[in-house]
């Protein structure tokens, strides 16, 4: 069931496409993935990739109102930007798939770039910045964490940008340059998931084959040097509860060890039966919540342990207990059932993702951009092959206080 058939192709201009047919639906999702994110920004103009995402809805030469076109065809559309990529999708009745292809091709070829829409979207994005980061408790957490854990790589700023002033500075020339540099067919993956006819490849050729492409320069961002001693930061903010974050450097998405990090983080703290939760929340009653996760970035990234400390508990005592669990991870051997549990959770989550037309389109595109779309399904075999020894050996190597970044985010 998990391995479902899909087809791939590539046009002469380098645009890759993926076709994922689904029988029992009357909808189709057209997903356009551009392999550009906030890591590709200039350090003095951060937040630009996300601002640009907003501008992609400002209309194009033949379709002055993108949203009106989609809505008139009975569909919805949206987009999101991360440090590594920007993803756009249109979900609509299958009969109108051609309209979605036309809209995507027109904004890939002739985006309507003008001062008025730039100025309005700067305001909108600044309000988004406030709503999601500046005017929320813990909203600047990732600003602080990124700055703490990265000194050289562009992951040192979050996708929303370092500050609203950077958004304010964006000029029309920046917009044009960014568009010309990154929004090229050979830097994009088109995925169509859902119901479509046999002529779909002809339509893709009709709308995209003639879009010229530019050379996309290979990225060569400076990687972070290995961490040699613990780096710790304490900040105080107007928040109700103290929070501790421990971040361990980890390899990028294509590393053979990536999946082992993922499973280790699941065993540590992905759910209410995980080791950290059972011990620190339920038994020792030091934290209100604790969880472990990986950032999932393309370049080397972070495995994060995040805990909200109970109000009556001293932060240093809570942190010491957290370290105690991490350092002594291997003293309690991983059981077969424990490993099977996280693998079942992975399978369940993957099954949910591939049931959703938009998610499966996005996931296939992402893996195709990284290496090959087939990885989405092959990953399950990779996860199944990971052994207890693999995880314990990794834990032994990395769960080390001298190789970690620590943030204490405290209430004033």
């Amino acid at each position: 069931m998990l391995k479902q058939a899909f087809k791939k192709g590539c046009l002469s201009n380098g645009l890759r496409y993926i076709l994922y047919p689904v029988k029992d639906t009357s909808l189709v999702c057209v997903n356009m993935f551009y392999f550009v994110g906030s890591r590709d920004e200039e350090p003095d103009k951060t937040g630009f990739a996300h601002l640009f995402e907003h501008l992609m809805f400002a209309g194009s030469e033949q379709a002055p109102s993108f949203d009106n076109e989609v809505e008139s065809a009975g569909g919805v559309n949206n987009a999101f930007t991360t440090q590594d990529y920007t993803d756009y999708f249109i979900e609509l009745p299958a009969d109108n798939v051609e309209l979605a292809l036309w809209l995507e091709s027109d904004r890939m070829r002739h985006l309507n770039i003008n001062e008025k829409s730039l100025n309005i979207q700067k305001n909108v994005v600044i309000e988004e910045f406030k709503e999601t980061h500046l005017n929320q408790p813990y909203g600047d957490l990732f600003h602080i964490l990124s700055d703490l854990c990265y000194t050289k790589h562009p992951y040192r700023w979050p996708t929303i940008g370092l500050s609203p002033e950077h958004i304010e500075k964006a000029t029309i020339e920046d917009v044009q340059r960014f568009y010309d540099k990154w929004y090229q067919p050979n830097n994009a993956i088109l995925a169509i998931s859902g119901k479509f006819n046999e002529n779909i490849e002809d339509l893709i050729k009709q709308y995209f084959e003639n879009i010229p492409s530019n050379l996309i320069n290979e990225r060569n961002y400076t990687l972070e040097p290995p961490i040699e001693h613990q780096i710790k930061k304490i900040v105080k903010r107007d928040v109700p509860l103290n929070l501790i974050v421990i971040a361990f450097p980890m390899p990028g998405r294509l590393s053979p060890e990536y999946s082992t990090y993922d499973i280790l983080s699941d065993i540590l703290g992905n759910d209410n039966s995980s080791r950290l939760y059972s011990s620190l929340v339920k038994e020792k009653k030091l934290f209100i919540s604790v969880d472990a996760s990986i950032m999932g970035s393309v370049d080397p990234g972070l495995m994060l342990i995040t805990g909200i400390v109970k109000p009556s508990i001293d932060v240093s005592k809570a942190e010491a207990a957290l370290w105690d669990e991490l350092i002594n991870f291997n003293k309690k051997p991983i059981t077969d059932r424990e490993l099977e549990k996280v693998k079942n959770m992975f399978l369940s989550s993957l099954s949910m993702d591939i049931y959703d037309l938009q998610k499966v389109g996005f996931e296939l595109s992402f893996y195709e951009a990284l290496s090959k779309a087939e990885l989405l399904f092959e990953n399950y075999d990779v996860y199944r092959s990971i052994t207890k020894d693999d995880i314990m050996s990794l834990a032994d190597r990395i769960l080390n206080p001298d190789r970690a970044f620590v943030l204490n985010y405290l209430k004033k």
Binding site: M1, L2, D24, T25, S26, L27, Q62, D67, N68, E71, S72, G74, G75, L92, P93, D95, N96, E98, L99, W102, N119, I120, Q121, K122, N123, V124, V125, E127, E128, K130, E131, T132, L134, N135, Q136, P137, Y138, D238, V239, P240, L241, D271, N272, S273, V281, K282, I288, S289, I308, K310, P311, V342, N344, M345, L347, S348, S349, S351, M352, Y355
Partner: protein, 422 residues
């Protein structure tokens, strides 16, 4: 060249199988081979309105995962995770919605576990303490957010502080909740006699049999539903000052007639044009033309005994008055000026096309079926009427019904932020 748009067809309402579990309870089923997952949904009309303190009703349901006489909370969580299952419980004033999603191979043991939780939850004291601390923590964080402050004060103003739809959780409610309260609530109100059940995904006959058998063993108390009556609010506006806030949250709206009314679809079209989709008047003006907000939208919220229409936005801190004035201007314009054909046809197509989403895939079909059944609405007649009105309503009918459903004079306006609004 722009391809022709094919006007979205009226969606076919999918046939959902119904099985009678008893004389008042139905099991709705819809299968698919597209996935290895199976979902069970249960809606029980025994929400927190039955408790004087809403926390008692919420915790009694939510904490079934906290322990039974045989298993502690960690064992329960471990078992669910081993089955790759997610068990979500959400409690509203009238009902509780339970969903169990799991891999097909593990559905039967996961169902056994759910049955154990529903019949044998024992609310250990230490778990209650943890739950209180966690809820207190979440509440403290929410109370720092202007959006949450505006939202809860809106419902308080709209219904009254002690009304089930207006009563929000206070620190003292959490503090005062005792284990005995939860045990009493579960004994008295865990009544499945009028519950609604839905099964979706890749299930087989054995799974249906097992669901039926489990249901027959659940408490059948036949408690009488408590009808809720709402009055018009006495006070119409409120500002909560949050000096340090960078934005001001606006929440405004009114009580409206039920979606069971035959003319409701006319209002729904109007509300969509006004603020219910991305291309709406409000979003075009306040976000896309003036850049005052990241997003503004209007929506309906249907409690079992009262529907509500509201507008929400977080705007530049010093521009809340301006934004409210613009909302008023758009409102006046909407009810007084004809809607042009282009806009009306766009919204007709949008509403018809996006109706497909409710019928796309087994999980959506069954969730929608339960939601509508809980509100006492027949899916078939509601959607047939909706599709008819989408196709045939004229612009004047839409504006008239919109003005009738939401007269400006009924509007309750709440703001939370650092600038006093007038």
């Amino acid at each position: 060249m722009r391809p022709n748009v094919i006007i979205p067809k009226e969606p076919e309402i999918p046939y959902v199988e119904e099985l009678l579990l008893n004389n008042k309870t139905k099991l709705f089923t819809y299968s698919t081979q597209r996935t290895d997952l199976v979902s069970l949904y249960i809606t029980v009309p025994c929400g927190y309105k039955y408790a004087k303190n809403p926390v008692i009703g919420k915790f009694a349901w939510e904490m079934i995962k906290a322990g039974t006489n045989k298993k502690n909370s960690i064992q329960i969580a471990e078992e669910l995770n081993y089955y790759g299952a997610s068990l979500d419980i959400s409690v509203n004033p009238d009902s509780v919605n339970i969903s169990l999603v799991t891999l097909k191979d593990f559905f039967l043991p996961a169902l056994d576990l759910l049955f154990e939780l529903l019949t044998d939850a024992n609310y250990p004291k230490k778990e209650l303490l943890l739950q209180k601390q966690e809820t207190m923590g979440i509440l403290k964080i929410e109370n720092k957010k202007v959006e949450s402050i505006a939202n809860k004060n809106f419902y308080k103003l709209l219904f009254g502080a002690n009304h089930p739809y207006g009563r929000y959780i206070k620190y003292s409610d959490i503090f005062l909740t005792q284990r005995m309260n939860l045990l009493n609530f579960s004994k008295k109100y865990f009544d499945f006699s009028q519950s609604l059940w839905g099964l979706a995904g890749n299930y087989d006959d054995q799974i249906i049999r097992s669901v039926t058998e489990h249901f027959s063993l659940l408490p059948n108390l036949n408690i009488e539903d408590q009808t809720i009556i709402s009055k018009e609010p006495a006070k119409k506006s409120l500002h909560i000052n949050k000096k340090s806030s960078l934005q001001t949250a606006i929440k405004m709206g009114s009580q409206i007639k039920s979606l069971r009314e035959k003319d409701y679809p006319y209002f729904l079209i109007g509300q969509t044009i006004f603020g219910g989709y991305f291309g709406s008047r409000l979003n075009k003006n306040i976000r896309e033309e003036k850049g005052l907000t990241y997003g503004i939208f209007s929506r309906t919220n249907h409690f079992k005994y009262q529907s509500v229409w509201s507008i929400s936005a977080e705007v530049k801190a010093d521009q809340a008055n301006y934004a409210i004035n613009e909302i008023r201007t758009e409102y006046e314009k909407f009810i007084n000026e004809p809607i042009n054909d282009e806009e009306l046809n766009r919204v007709r197509n949008y509403m018809m096309g996006t109706s497909l989403f409710a019928f796309d895939g087994a999980f959506n079909i069954i969730k929608n079926q339960l939601k509508m059944s809980d509100l006492g609405v027949s899916v078939d007649s509601y959607y047939k009427n909706l599709f008819y009105v989408i196709k045939n309503a004229n612009e004047m009918e839409i504006r008239e019904k919109f003005a009738e459903y939401v007269p400006w004079g009924k509007m309750v306006i709440v703001t939370a932020g650092n600038v006093e609004t007038k």
